[in-house]
């Protein structure tokens, strides 16, 4: 047995050994470590693949990250096996905020965006809050953490190609629900999906009940360098986020553009 250890590692990276790798979908893997980072739902860690890069990853498990291969760093991660090591720094950022007295929550996850929402579903269920989740993916085998959400409450499935659940997008299903009936609506997924959901929430006047887990290019991860600042408020996704309330995102750059490593605007 590998000893597991728990560490708050917001300073220099600590070493974490991969003890298990789970193929979640054809494109998504979960890497489990011998080390627990005490992250709450919504927080992230910086994962250092030595000699390659260091990238922010949400923590669907306190000892695990769920990764989709999208670039150099994630490709390098996919090349690692059990017994290999990474460096971890974290937990960083804020958490999803469950308001006191909340009785019901709606969680909306698109693709790998379901990752930060899965622990939230579990925390909400434990707190006696009714959980409804809309899970969307390109196709049935890309659905992530369906079991975890089903254990926490009601799940509505959508796939782009109709191979599972409703054919179409999560936003199609959202139109069939009474958004005002939920005390909290948490969202993570591709940015075009998130901005559509924000627009729908604004239409219904419930944007203050929404919380979005955002993604921007990070350098420092500790709120200093400014690489992840969003217009027009200058919100730092790494420090003021990654979870930001929908009412603070109205009129922001969300869904319009993001900035690359040189801070050049990249339009969606």
């Amino acid at each position: 047995m590998t000893d597991t250890k728990e560490a708050n590692a917001t300073k220099r990276p600590i070493n974490a050994t991969i003890i298990k790798i789970v193929d979640e979908t054809p494109s998504i893997k979960t890497f489990f470590f011998d080390t627990h980072i005490p992250a709450c739902a919504g927080q992230f860690s910086m994962v250092w693949i030595r000699g390659v890069d260091e990238i922010p990853m949400s923590m669907p498990y306190t000892n695990g990250i769920t990764v989709q291969k999208v670039g150099d760093a994630t490709s390098a991660l996919f090349g690692l096996g059990v017994g290999d090591c990474v460096g971890l720094r974290g937990p960083f950022g804020n958490t999803f905020n469950i308001p006191s007295g909340a009785k019901s929550t709606l969680l909306i996850g698109g693709g790998v965006g379901a990752a930060p929402l899965a622990p939230l579903a579990e925390v909400a269920k434990e707190a006696g809050i009714a959980v409804t989740a809309i899970l969307g993916a390109r196709t049935s085998e890309e659905l992530l953490f369906q079991n975890r959400f089903e254990k926490a409450g009601k799940v509505i499935i959508t796939t782009d190609d109709g191979t599972a659940g409703h054919r179409g997008f999560v936003t199609d299903m959202l139109e069939t629900l009474d958004l005002g009936g939920f005390d909290l609506i948490c969202v993570c997924g591709p940015e075009p999906m998130m901005v559509r959901i924000l627009d729908m929430a604004v239409d219904k006047g419930v944007e203050a009940k929404t919380q979005f887990s955002l993604h921007r290019y990070f350098k420092c991860a500790i709120g200093v360098c400014g690489a992840c600042c969003m217009d027009d408020e200058g919100l730092r996704v790494c420090k003021d986020g990654p979870v930001i309330s929908g009412d603070r995102l109205v009129g922001s750059e969300l869904g319009k553009y993001k900035r690359d490593a040189s801070s050049l605007k990249i339009y969606f």
């Binding site: 220099r12 990276p13 030595r50 890069d53 200058g234 690359d260 605007k265």
Partner: protein, 318 residues
């Protein structure tokens, strides 16, 4: 009523705390340091609203530059090391962000000056960039970044080259020119004097101190660039000494930077000879930009001193 009274108190405080640096009026002697929260106009305006006296942009160069791979900034036991690698979108793209910063900072009461930090590989590059960023209230020349090859400290350790850059800037640019000095030299005063002799309006000291950290599990240097610069509490005594030395020999204002996170740090830096201070790594908590000025205000009130009386006080004692 109470609101009105509070506003009145704020105005009085700002009058007591106000400083004029190279002709720029600052409501208080703190500034956002270069390289921190300065990549977008919105971010600069946010820091200005938080209460700082002036804001300085991320260092801007000729071309877009992505910087080094991560890890690019890591907190250590005693401060931070970073090697960002001068990431910036290039001056022609940044001009729009600078305008956003100017509009937002200019609309505040009192208005907050926006200083553009710029870097280049030659005097001509510095001038080209400055001409493309005309709306800046002043320029801070980054001749001191310790971890970007061909730029920064490789320029700033050479007093002759620093002098050439300053002279070129002063010939073509008609707003104040500040020079940010590196501590990674044998004698910082020599470079400071070269800047002054060539017409610099102020110097800022210090940039980060060359530093490195190694992951003992594997032996890998932690920073993507392998080495970088140290900031935070560990370098404050180094900065204090540099400012103290510069104050003895220079007539132009010195802006102190390095390890300042509290009003006590700021007062200490001013007593070493700084007319104003910059806050960098401590900006992770943006409220630092209201806490430090108000702490300085309380201090000078308690001591019944004017802000100018604390500048260089250490030189007059003992």
């Amino acid at each position: 009523m109470q609101d009105k009274d509070n506003k009145k108190a704020d105005v009085q405080a700002s009058e007591k705390l106000g400083v004029t640096i190279t002709g720029l009026k600052l409501a208080n002697p703190t500034m956002l340091a270069a390289g921190v929260l300065g990549s977008s106009g919105a971010s600069l305006v946010r820091v200005a609203k938080a209460g700082t006296g002036a804001v300085i942009t991320k260092s801007i160069g000729i071309e877009p530059k992505e910087g080094h791979h991560n890890p690019s900034m890591v907190e250590l036991e005693c401060g931070y090391i970073n090697a960002m690698g001068l990431p910036n979108p290039g001056y022609s793209n940044f001009a729009k962000e600078l305008q956003v910063a100017k509009n937002g900072c200019g609309a505040l009461i009192p208005s907050v000056p926006v200083i553009a930090s710029i870097f280049g590989a030659s005097p001509e590059e510095f001038v080209t960039i400055a001409e493309g960023l005309k709306v800046a209230d002043a320029f801070e020349l980054n001749v001191s970044c310790p971890h970007a090859s061909g730029f920064g400290a490789s320029v700033g350790t050479d007093p002759v080259l620093v002098g050439e850059i300053v002279r070129a800037m002063k010939k073509h640019i008609h707003v104040p020119v500040w020079v940010k000095l590196t501590p990674n030299v044998t004698d910082i005063v020599e470079v400071g004097l070269a800047a002054q002799k060539s017409g610099a309006d102020a110097v800022c000291a210090i940039n980060t101190v060359r530093a490195m950290a190694i992951d003992i599990e594997t032996g890998y240097p932690i920073l993507g660039n392998r080495f970088g610069g140290m900031s935070g509490p560990a370098i404050k005594p180094v900065a204090i000494k540099c400012v103290y030395d510069l104050y003895q020999y220079l007539d132009i204002p010195i802006i102190g930077v390095g390890g300042i996170s509290t009003w006590r740090d700021a007062v200490e830096m001013m007593m070493a000879g700084a007319s104003a201070v910059q806050i960098g790594s401590a900006a992770a908590d943006i409220e630092v930009f209201s806490r430090v000025p108000s702490g300085i205000g309380n201090f000078i009130e308690k001591k019944n001193m004017r802000i100018s009386e604390i500048v260089g006080l250490a030189h007059r004692m003992g």
